[in-house]
Symmetry: C2
Subunit: 329 residues, 2 copies
DNA sequence: GCTTGATGAGAAATCGATTTCTGGAGGCTA
DNA sequence: TAGCCTCCAGAAATCGATTTCTCATCAAGC
């Protein structure tokens, strides 16, 4: 079913059908009615490849995230969608699953389709390469990318680390471990950096053996915590630098029968629902999830509307939520 | 940067560039090298609108789900992606957010782009209309749709309800409530139906006032449980028919200081991580998440490869996971 | 030495929509 | 009534890739 079929059915030219359906130019009301009727009767769906080819742009945004199963990202995506729907865009979500190769494939796809915009949380600060999609407006969120100078919405992750350290120190913890991600993920890396810096300042530098890197899934966090336990020397508190890692750390402590809070304190990042459902509740550094998504969406919409111009780099502030898992030492 | 630019740079015709990059036909090795070099030098990304227009099909699948924030769906999507990547397809995820209008928009988009395939969990059994995308191979998952006869992967949800009922009866519960979703969502509706049927058979029919419908988010489950509490007459157990509803019910019970298991039993659906992290752990009817996604992906790949043929309707079996939240009555 | 066939690569048609170009009909002014 | 606009709608060009058509070249076979 093409525009020519509709044109034939309505007894007009394809040009007229296009004009009616897009509301551009002037068409006699009577003809317009005939066209609309024909389009409805034939269940005509315009081929967006033809349209995008001619128009040279689509009305779809892609959001590429590194882990669709992480509630932080789905929360951000939901907020982006709200803005997009509001401005008449559609959003498709792509999951790179922390793999640079899959990310590149999605970037290629976005560029090849000449999408209207792109929001991306990269898989790797050093290896990710956004040049493939350099032609379409992009907003980088959550994680920094090597030499990207465009719009971005980030959180002050060094501060996040400092907040966690401050809190643990205040609560009297001193023998502190950290479970964090690969060194090419800027978020977890910055949180570790801020955390370390604060502990060093306080004269309680973190022991090298107590810094554990893991892949950014619950399994990674769990394995890392078990590795710490196997070391024999038990820390009195643990900082996990993202949501899934926190979850994994919690599960390992629980499985080993260690009293969270009393024996070993635990503080995490990202306020997923479960943190308030367990006992004791888990202290976390919270990121402004909805705000990140909203701002990313608005930045993208503005960039698309206003064209090139000075890049905006927004940095938001995290918040400490102190709870039972870091009390009772 | 178009194929003609590359052709000019390599000193050949566009046809030759196309042949080289797609590996079809025969091209002299020397020319081929020149083309490949020119394509690399110019960072040429083929316009997929032009390509899809001519080829009449793309290599992208869309997965439309009703709630990206529900771990059940993201789990299924991750499994579909594994199959897709394996077969050389890309997957984009679309979130209808339980809204038929947004779902239609995504269906229109999928049809307009002539995507290679579609996997969908509909927003409404009665209102969702897949005819818009009738031209592309589709697999329906999770929820039934009014008069859809194509491929599908479902779970025996009446059995899921019966398993929950059986277990509660066995544990000695008799005054039982149910928190479920809108009546046009077949999954929660079937679970309720199976649950009711089993309780009636056992001579302990569920009281009408103890059947609460809620929107399918944690807030909905929480509100529904509070409504039951406000009724004054406390049930001795509650069945929540999906993941977020279970979460909400748990939160409400906990907030009200009701001892889960001892005072009020709780059984849910979907084995999200938190169910094993809380105390007591929550009993659930588990769906084979990865299996659903894998089968949906394979069904779609086969359909695309083999063309029309008899539809396959796969029904999987849920499993009961009995835990502390339904003990101790 | 001439015919036949295979091979390689450019020219041109094609996909389906949008947009520019073009021309006819009708209204207005001088 | 001639001349000029304006308005409307069809014809045709265009977007960028793929694929069919066409033709030139060269080798093999008789």
């Amino acid at each position: 079913m093409t525009i020519s079929d509709v044109a034939r059915a309505a007894g007009v030219s394809p040009a007229t059908v296009s004009r009616v359906l897009n509301g551009v130019g002037t068409v006699a009301p009577e003809l317009a009615d005939r066209v609309r009727k024909a389009a409805a009767d034939t269940r005509y769906v315009p081929n967006s490849n033809g349209r995008a080819l001619r128009r040279r742009v689509s009305d779809v945004w892609a959001v590429i995230v590194s882990d669709v199963q992480n509630p932080f990202f789905t929360g951000v995506v939901a907020a982006i969608e709200r803005v997009a729907v509001d401005r008449g865009f559609s959003v498709v979500l792509c999951n790179s699953d922390e793999q640079v190769a899959r990310e590149s494939e999605y970037l290629r796809l976005a560029a090849a389709q000449h999408l209207a915009g792109l929001v991306i949380a990269v898989a790797s600060e050093v290896e990710s390469d956004l040049r493939t999609a350099a032609d379409i407006p992009a907003v980088v969120i959550d994680r920094r990318v090597h030499d990207h100078l465009g719009d971005s919405v980030m959180v002050d992750n060094r501060l996040a680390g400092r907040l966690a350290a401050d809190h643990l120190l205040e609560q009297g913890f001193r023998r502190i471990a950290c479970i964090t991600g690969p060194s090419d993920v800027s978020t977890t890396e910055d949180r570790l950096a801020g955390f370390r810096a604060r502990l060093s300042e306080a004269g309680a530098p973190i022991a090298r053996k107590w810094i554990r890197r893991a892949n950014l899934r619950a399994e990674g966090g769990e394995a890392a915590l078990r590795a710490i336990l196997r070391g024999g020397d038990l820390p009195d508190a643990v900082f996990a630098t993202n949501g899934p890692l926190t979850e994994g750390a919690y599960q390992a402590l629980q499985a080993e029968g260690i009293a969270i809070g009393a024996e070993v304190g635990l503080i995490g990042v990202d306020d997923d629902h479960w943190t308030r459902m367990v006992a004791p509740q888990v202290s976390v550094v919270q990121q402004p999830v909805a705000e990140i998504g909203r701002l990313a969406g608005e930045l993208l919409a503005n960039r698309a509307a206003r064209g090139p111009g000075p890049a905006q780099q927004i940095v938001l502030t995290p918040t400490l939520l102190a709870r039972g898992s870091t009390r009772g030492h």
